[in-house]
Symmetry: C2
Subunit: 359 residues, 2 copies
DNA sequence: TCGGAAATGAGGTACGCACCTCAAAAATGC
DNA sequence: GCATTTTTGAGGTGCGTACCTCATTTCCGA
């Protein structure tokens, strides 16, 4: 059998109460005694039974997930995934709630964040561009003891506790190799489109992309980034114009969202399948476009992994537990028409663990 | 607060004992009463508290993971991952043990398997080629109530309870697109190498590869598969000969293992970087070769995911619980030099739930 | 209508841990 | 050596569920 707290007490020659004090870092124990207990722990190879511990605590942590309120399908999918994972309350004593903020209003976001501690939250996961107000808000939260986790787009200068998402620079590099190789390295131009060039994820993707293109595919010239500010209208207009005037454009790298407008523009110009189009995130739309050959490749991060990882990390941070870094790495997925995962969209979304009644 | 069994009892107007009987599918309850309880359950939205349930059960299930005893680095990594996850005993009341069998001796494997029930095992995960003896052994296990999970290579005709691994056909297709596009679709020959052409995963990869090459890249001619039977010696010899005599070979698709010999042969012939080489699985060696540019792309499945998924699935099967299909899908990873994950090789692989003793 | 079988209730113990209280022992300062 | 503070011990309760026993009630068929 696995050793229990009682075994430790016996082994260390102390009482249960003392073991408990040491295990939970409660005050009032001499250094010497702490050491004795820890020695016993390592001698017996004791491992705290988390099921029992959580049960005994029977305290649930309120966690906030804060996402921008854009119409982006990716963000929407992410929101849905978190929503579904809310049932996780069951097993991990986490009470999750979703918050959205107007993407163009950093002050509203800051206000939202700063209100969280008062409302009893114990941790926050946040997807937002790094602005000065945001930086202050995050710092303030952390000062009050709330762990803050950056989601999808990192917030390196805020002191966030963790970043959950792909390495966007590497994602950009990956897009670069694929683009370069798919174009055969030959001459031609590549358009780069991003929603907002301020968001850290965009910047890093662009940097990674350029890095590879310059180094490995000097024959291909990469045009300046086009900024669309999330507006499909703008995107479509700009792309149409651009493509009409630049016959040398053989590839498009869409770093952000607004893919619908993009593929529409391509279709209208009759360029479907003639361009190498690489974009990010698997959404219903990009899936369809991939299947139809309108998009060549999608660089994606799995929303399910993001959500699960977020919850694990938040829990670990709140409890001050170590992480399994390997498990928390969000991989960069390369999706082609040929390796599209079967759509689980209409599969009933069961909770992580379901209740079984008689068969 | 979440509803508990007591709430259900009250809501359904029955006693706790009856609720328990229904929840755990024990006999001696009228249909009508079962329904009443289930109604109460859904009305209250009851979800069994797994922490408490596992605690109360305090029974651990012995699970066997059975892997071939080859020197393949991938299998080795997999074995290590399982080994590390053995600490999972802690949280999921799973007692995991690893078994290896001589890859060329299906009878030894069958004997090993058939001995498991007597030794108190409650479930098996198995990576092995499908032979008639194996089929019978698996059927026998399942008849005795042991769930059997196929690992990496599916065993479709054995009635296995689940398959954990990538869709190998899709993996082959992915290799195909990459090969075709990287070659620019132009003329040339592609060598295909596999360790054993009997293993289901090899067959499916080859099928997927051919499918794409024939359909989308008719200009590229794909040579017959070379079988190496896991021998590096044979592989090296065959490849060297082949490459020397066929100057048109521009790409190599290595479906299985033995990459070391392959890259050696390529190096010796001075063809490093001049061929498009695609192979499977991320191992220390393929990582290095990828970084050095000797291998162009690696199609991989993540051993950590495989191991974790295996444990979750085994547990669910043993407990007769439903699965979260989405989470159990093993994605096909496309690895290029540009998106190689940082090596976590020396990061300690803690179990799904980490242990914390005093900080 | 009665008897046996089936269904249900009442209540208990255990799982491993967190957290509480109060008393007793040990260490400390003077 | 005494009073004071710090440390430790003993013991209890509860978390939500599993699983057990034994008594009681309800059901069904003859």
């Amino acid at each position: 059998m696995r050793p229990t707290v009682n075994d430790i007490a016996r082994e260390a020659g102390v009482s249960l109460a003392t073991v408990d004090r040491v295990l939970n870092a409660r005050p009032g124990v001499r250094e010497k005694t702490i050491k004795a207990v820890n020695d016993a722990i390592s001698r017996l190879g004791y491992v705290r039974d988390l099921s029992a511990a959580n049960l005994a605590r029977s305290r649930t942590y309120r966690m906030a997930v804060v996402l921008p309120d854009t119409e982006s399908q990716f963000v929407q999918t992410l929101a849905d995934t978190f929503q579904d994972a809310g049932h996780l309350v069951a097993t991990a004593r986490i009470d999750l709630s979703l918050h959205r903020f107007p993407p163009e209003d950093p002050h509203a976001l800051a206000a939202l964040l700063l209100d969280l501690p008062a409302r009893g939250y114990a941790g926050v996961a946040l997807m937002a561009p790094e602005t000065p107000v945001l930086r202050d808000a995050v710092r303030s939260l952390r000062a009050r003891g709330l762990p803050v986790v950056a989601l999808v787009s990192d917030l390196p200068n805020t002191g966030r506790d963790h970043f959950i998402g792909t390495d966007n620079r590497a994602a950009g590099r990956t897009a670069g190799v694929l683009m370069g190789r798919f174009l055969g390295g030959g001459p031609g131009q590549v358009m780069v489109i991003g929603s907002s060039l301020l968001a850290r994820d965009m910047i890093e993707r662009r940097r990674g992309f350029d890095e590879v293109m310059l180094r490995d595919f000097p024959g291909v010239s990469v045009l300046q980034s086009l900024e669309t500010h999330g507006s499909g209208r703008t995107l479509r207009q700009v792309v149409t114009e651009m493509l009409a005037n630049a016959p040398d454009v053989r590839g498009i790298y869409a770093m952000g969202d607004g893919h619908r407008a993009l593929t529409q523009a391509i279709q209208e110009l009759g360029l479907s399948g003639k361009l190498t189009v690489i974009c990010h995130e698997l959404t219903p739309h990009t899936r369809k476009a991939l299947e139809a050959g309108e998009i060549t490749a999608v660089i994606a991060q799995n929303p399910g992994h993001l959500a699960r990882s977020t919850l694990r990390v938040l829990r670990a941070k709140v409890d001050n537990l170590p992480l399994d870094e390997g498990q928390e790495q969000i991989r960069i997925e390369v999706l082609l028409r040929e390796n599209l995962p079967p759509t689980p969209s209409d599969a009933p979304d069961s909770a992580t663990e379901a209740t079984s009644t008689a068969a």
